[in-house]
Symmetry: C2
Subunit: 424 residues, 2 copies
């Protein structure tokens, strides 16, 4: 196989373990759940770890669930706003525009609807589900984060540049779809994979604050300020940034741990343009271009690693299919005593091959349990190699010398035999 690169900005160290945990989290259900089924979503599981009822972000308490779609069987994330009453149908229709936004830095918005299934009047937002994701608050502000960070640790500057690049990319996608992010609270930005963040509450305020009818241009300009506050709050380890009237002392504090380029970027984000001038994401991207290209290169490296891991696993997949074929052929009870499967039959070879692959013993008669040997044999079988092997009968009275290629023919013949509509 070809080589892996050593970059790891976006690559979990224990990739397999990570995948396994996510698969488990995706499949996990709550046995005695009191949660209702909705019209098109069933098997709801609460994702909120705290039961704190807070209305600060949206003006309504909100709860998050994962649920399975009846339509396609996929898992989605549902965000429920408790006690919301829809007064204008157009409010909820604005969510449709978000389907056009397909960006790696935005949790994709799928749908929104109201429901009485929870015993109140609730508003539900359906988005993509990212198993085991954490909010930036959970990730950076709690001691017990699954990443083992301590709350008081300074977040390294390269991590923050990586966030800035991803959010800038998301803002570009959102603004060019003629929308605004509106909510960038640290509790609504998700860490979905190693180094990957996504804006997690898009479209919610569009519905909830629909009546205010604020002009898009104004909301887009405000996005830069939300962006600046988000970065400032993580960099200063201070969650009250959103409510602090005077940010100057916090900005000063940045000098302690961060470069002037970094501080200048935060200041640019926080400083409104002098009307009638406006700020644009293009200007931001030009200023941080070298960081964008660094993130790009990291991402390409992650791609290369994933690609070669995938190459290896695809090989395993082939072996699994081959093993299942062999499993169906050998030792079928209905063939017991069948003359065609007797020791003179060509298919008898497959039985001996099975012994050769799985039942090797060493000089002392001890089982050899070497998966490397098994994988090598199966790979050669799959490839139909010209290599010859000697297969001894169990009584050691006869030895057959065959190539893998011949055995492969036998497997395929036996497999098609089993598939025939009627037996001889």
């Amino acid at each position: 196989a070809y080589q892996k690169h050593a970059h790891d900005f976006f690559m979990p160290e224990a990739l397999r373990e990570d995948l396994q945990k996510k698969a488990e989290a995706t499949l996990q259900v709550m046995p005695n759940s009191q949660l209702p089924n909705l019209d098109t979503y069933h098997t709801l599981v609460a994702l909120d770890t705290s039961h704190r009822k807070s209305a600060t972000v949206f003006g309504y308490p909100s709860w998050v669930y994962k649920a399975t779609s009846m339509k396609n069987g996929y898992m989605y994330c549902l965000r429920r706003l408790e006690g919301y009453r829809l007064t204008n149908e157009r409010a909820i229709r604005s969510v449709k525009d978000w389907r056009r936004v397909n960006c790696g830095g935005v949790v994709s918005v799928v749908d929104a609807f109201t429901t009485r299934a929870f015993g109140d009047s609730s508003l539900i937002f359906v988005t993509n589900y990212h198993p085991l994701s954490k909010t930036l608050v959970e990730h950076h502000f709690t001691n017990t984060s699954r990443f083992g960070n301590r709350a008081s640790q300074t977040v390294p500057e390269p991590v923050l540049w990586n966030y800035i690049v991803q959010i800038a990319s998301a803002v570009k996608a959102v603004h060019s779809a003629n929308l605004a992010v509106r909510c960038m609270d640290p509790s609504k930005v998700m860490v979905t994979d190693k180094g990957r963040i996504r804006l997690g509450a898009c479209s919610v305020l569009d519905v909830v604050q629909f009546e205010a009818q604020r002009p898009l241009a104004e909301l887009q300009q405000e996005d830069f300020i939300h962006f600046g506050k988000l970065i400032l709050s993580i960099a200063t380890n201070n969650l009250s940034v959103t409510t602090t009237p005077n940010l100057a002392p916090l900005v000063e504090q940045l000098a302690r741990n961060y470069s002037s380029e970094f501080r200048d970027t935060v200041v640019w984000l926080l400083t409104p343009a002098q009307a009638p001038a406006t700020k644009g994401v293009g200007e931001l991207l030009s200023g941080i271009a070298t960081h964008v290209v660094d993130a790009f290169d990291s991402s390409l490296h992650a791609n290369d690693t994933l690609y070669s891991e995938l190459a290896r696993e695809v090989e395993n997949g082939r072996l699994a299919r081959l093993l299942m074929k062999l499993g169906t052929i050998n030792e079928r009870p209905e063939y017991e005593g069948d003359v065609n499967w007797s020791e003179t039959s060509e298919r008898y070879i497959l039985k001996l091959f099975r012994d050769y692959v799985f039942h090797q013993v060493n000089a002392e008669g001890r089982p050899v349990l070497d998966m490397g040997h098994m994988v090598a044999c199966l790979n050669k079988l799959d490839a139909g190699s010209q290599e010859k092997i000697s297969l001894a009968s169990r009584d050691e009275q006869s030895v057959f010398v065959v190539t893998y290629s011949e055995i492969k023919k036998q497997v395929n013949a036996a497999w098609s035999e089993l598939q025939k509509p009627t037996r001889r």
Copy 2:
């Protein structure tokens, strides 16, 4: 599982097929090869598709091989410069500096040495091997490219921006390692994966033109001109760009198919700075920042797709390992007639489970060959599910009702039994 995104800039449509073809290309050997073995590399296979002997790019005819390293068993790419005589040891040592460059847009340089194994005096460059890669010439200028492109087709602007971003990223990595690319001939830039290009001849001219001792700053400034010529030649479908004295008419021609932003970028690359001013890659990146971020987002989408494909394949890998375990346990000849494996033994269950998974028959007694059933059974076994199944003995006289969890315990017990140093 969670959803895939629809982006495909970096993702082959037939991912599995692509991986399979690359694996085959990697393993392919030439039966009656006349190629020599080198000190540390064996099993050389020529990668040049034409036998044209051309010295235009390096001043020496060059040939490309893949070969296996004796040291680690990995596959590498060797480029041989025919008839090169080393006069100064320091020339070849300059290659070491290239090992510091670890960039997704550069074919990694591993080593260089001279050899007489080909019957002449040859210079060998060792680089990473990228199976089935094509040069930009092969990809864009030949009718018979494996991508089915016609030579006369205009390359779409987004494809060229993608190239520009990747090469800019590579130039950044090279320049900041105090090196210069020097060779960006379209025949020396590789398309290694869908949408991915890499500079493929780094370090060669550093050795071959060592004596000229040209200043680094001058070479770096020249890189921008090489860069401009490369893009111009692909955009105008004209391979003589490198040798044409007057590029103005070709640049004019760009107006037909490309935006003014694109033309301005090419012109910027082709225009030398007014000394003493110099051009820097940072300036270039600021100018093309929105394209960089687009490439970044595509790459993140590719990551997401690869990640979910990998999740699926990892599952297959677990099943393959489980099947191999089962293979080692059932039907071992040395257990034939062993009372511990008799029909009263608990391990007898495993034999019946094997029948349940692989040897199902339908109402007419026909084999059921449903891999879905097998995969489902094996997944439940692996997870140790509490689900109960009924296992009937072959004579149908006894039925055992067991959970997957109990069977899992049996498998693990039997497997450890086999691993014990001595048998009872």
